[in-house]
Symmetry: D2
Subunit: 296 residues, 4 copies
């Protein structure tokens, strides 16, 4: 079992650290929230007074933070912890940030002789608790292999997307495409309804035809078509509109910086921002279906 | 075995009629092309001098024509054949036309006591030849059941979408969604490439994630990722850009007439029209990928 | 002064006929509404029991009807009035319909030796009452000149756009562009507001720069920037969202039938349909500004 | 006459500095290009060996640089010149950068007691040479007034948009709207042409109607409609597609950072990136018209 420092015990980080403890790892945790620290301590973790103290002497440093500025600050800031990390350690950042910032952190740590991978996740809070997350990793092959020791206790699917930053790129490409599938499926279903079709019948037909996609398979956005999905529970739970809007913001900046033409992604961004501004930010992202519904 | 009249022996209708003959049906064919008639005659069909003559005394009348005006003209025009069709016959129109026109024909035939279903197909010329088409049917349940006698010899999947016109609606919903999947997948893959990712690796990751869709499964638009798909054969074969542009035109008129909001469908329409106007009309529709490629 | 038949006394047609009477023309009116007929009779018009009766012996036949099917039915239907119109008369249709239908009517009347122009208007009910409408005319030059006798009493600007149907095309091109100006100006102003700018200051700057357009000059969509425009009167009055949505539906069908690529027009159509479905159909079309406002 | 330091003598900065010399100001210039320095010296400027040396003892410091990183580096970098600038001086940055970076520089200089305004320009190289630029200024009112001493010798229109950063925001709002006007006008004109209208006649009609906008007034994108505009000179000269694509990238990042919904701006961004990638980057931005033209 490995010695692991875990920085950031939020909705995602907390259950991820718990799964590492369950697997028998020696976890030292740090978070700015005393309550989060108390809880993880109760589950068997050591707790540290600072990130700097947490990482000392560990084999793996895992971070799960809200935004790029926090990640850059943690590792490379004036109070940054790079100098406290063992040269043998592997740093794994699981935050969803832009690829450029991930590369900046990777370069900064490399200058200090420390290995780094970016490993953003998908699967949400449910996947974090169940230990069934998907990790999409950017970094050297040996570091990807090395990371299995800890990632396999928190997730089910581990993908190696390419060099440092590629994990973030692949995640954002996937999520941009997902938003297009969800909005496109929603408008197709509603057009069918407006023309007198039963959305369940239409869903079944498209599922067996060339319109098949993940949202029709597992996450139908039209209320009543599938049981146990957010659309049949007033769009509660799942992946929030606020988070999809944030990811689409990252996607369009990635597109802009790489000179990529992403018309459908930009339109999906506009639709999700509009949906968010209409007060739906805390609903599941499949609630975009409501935007296409006709007023009675 | 049934007595069948088959009107319209084009690229699709010809092989469909051939499959009815192979199954042992008694087929009487009509087409304006003497060459098409000669060929189907050589395969064992009777040929008629007019559509009117072809339908006399048959159990099924099947039509496969280019556009709504031809279908309306055939059945309801001044020279229309409705009065020549047996009251016991079932009329099956396999053309892809707008739902309103299909309903117009259905109402017109019903006034004469003749049953009608709309049964547009997907699967292309390859599916027509192989007898593996998908039929999406609008009409009464008993007529849908009755149609199995002939449709099952031409296709593999038979779907009942709803009342008359619903077959056209479901097909156009599916194809509109397909165009969104294809264009969205293309721009996501190209954004990955522009950020240094291998399109095969990115495709594999999205295929196992929430970006999964029919195009990634069976029809990857990026050259070299999959064998034996149009993208790896210079976008030859498959489903032409011209046909997708036509279907998207039908989709946006259906949206307009039903007051439906289809922003992604309208954007996909614009992209396919632009692609067509740039001279790519005869390429496979996955060639939309080229629109997003960066100049070197 | 001329003998004029006027068919269709709705919100627009009523005041237009009144202005012809004020100018001294000899007007015979017809409408399905007895109340409308009673009113125009009180203003000095003759009234007829049918459209057929109204047109007999007149120099000009003017129609102002809701949709293409009414116009086609009036002139070319089974009960159509073509045979009752004098061969010396000029038929002027002021309805906003699709260009193809206008051409159909023109051809049908030409077969009977009757001259026709399409002359859709802009300027709204206010312009109809004030006699300041804009007429955009399609038809032969001599017919355009001939029409001045009556059009100049109902409007201020008379444009000759081209052959029959061109009036409808030009109007729909203008209104599609107008919707783009209005939505684009709205999102630019709101982005400025979201970044701390005063919308009046930003409007003044853009008005003197390359962002200048009709909406900034005369019809600013942001409440409080201009007096006496709909945005400063809770978006009451003006040109309704329902009408703009209808015109954009006509525009996208015209685009589809002519193989035109109109991405911004299609997006504006989607925005206006969405806005309409959210319950804003009776507001002025500048209320699209509200769609971009941020929730507090 | 004032003592002015001018940093950045590119296509824009060079002629701007020349106009200050012509007006009699005492200009000390710096640029990394020896050739640019030699030329401005020949026109009467002092030249400095470093930016630091250039600014010593001046009343105004003006910078005109390619991107935000250069501006931030110049004033706030490790080798930054802030400490060399007089506390009485006004710093005027004329570069087009994002508003956040402008605010960062403003705050950094304020900490050193130095006044700052952002003053991006429009009008292009032609305006820079002719001294007819438009300056859109963000900063305190007294600083805006103070800046007239030098700005009025380089430009004709001086706008005060608001606090520091507001100049950049207003410029980007205007240019985003301009791109929408240009693309929207282009697609409307082409739809008219596709329906048989003469683009000059349609332009005249829309110019007198509610479609009126700056592009129809001064910069018609359809070849042959206006003399002496880029569209009638093979789209040479004017404002390059590359620059419009860059400005639209800044606009969408500004939209993203402020949570603004800018669907038409995002679509225009996609159109311009596509147009750029098709090899049109060096053409005038009105060449977007070509994207809508139908293949013969």
């Amino acid at each position: 079992m490995a010695k692991v420092a875990f920085i950031g015990l939020g909705n995602m980080g907390g259950p991820m650290a718990t799964n590492l403890l369950k697997a028998g790892h020696d976890v030292t945790a740090f978070d700015l929230s005393a309550a989060a620290l108390a809880q993880i301590k109760a589950e068997g973790a050591k707790v540290a007074d600072s990130a700097r103290e947490a990482v000392a002497g560990t084999d793996y440093v895992i971070s799960m933070l809200p935004a790029a500025k926090h990640v850059i600050g943690l590792y490379l800031g004036e109070q940054g912890i790079a100098s406290a990390i063992s040269k043998q350690a592997l740093v794994i950042d699981c935050s969803t940030i832009d690829a450029e910032s991930a590369r900046t952190v990777g370069i900064g740590l490399a200058e200090q002789g420390i290995a780094f991978i970016d490993a953003p996740v998908s699967g949400g809070v449910g996947g974090a608790k169940a230990g069934t997350l998907t990790f999409i990793v950017g970094g050297a092959s040996q570091d990807f292999q090395n990371a299995h020791t800890v990632l396999s206790n928190m997730g089910k699917n581990l993908f190696h997307a390419g060099a440092i930053g590629a994990g973030q790129v692949a995640k954002i490409c996937n999520n941009m495409l997902l938003s297009i599938l969800m909005a496109g499926t929603s408008e197709a279903l509603q057009m069918g309804i407006n023309n007198g079709l039963d959305p369940k019948v239409l869903s079944d037909i498209m599922l067996k035809s060339s319109g098949r996609n993940w949202t029709l398979e597992l996450y139908n956005p039209c209320p009543g078509v599938m049981d146990n999905v957010p659309s049949s529970k007033d769009y509660q739970g799942g992946f929030m509109v606020d988070l999809m809007a944030k990811d689409l913001g990252l996607a369009l900046e990635a597109a802009n910086h790489s000179g990529s033409d992403t018309p459908l992604g930009e339109l999906a961004h506009s639709l999700y921002v509009k949906h968010q501004q209409a007060g739906n930010g805390k609903l599941d992202f499949s609630s975009i279906f409501k935007m296409f519904a006709k007023a009675d």
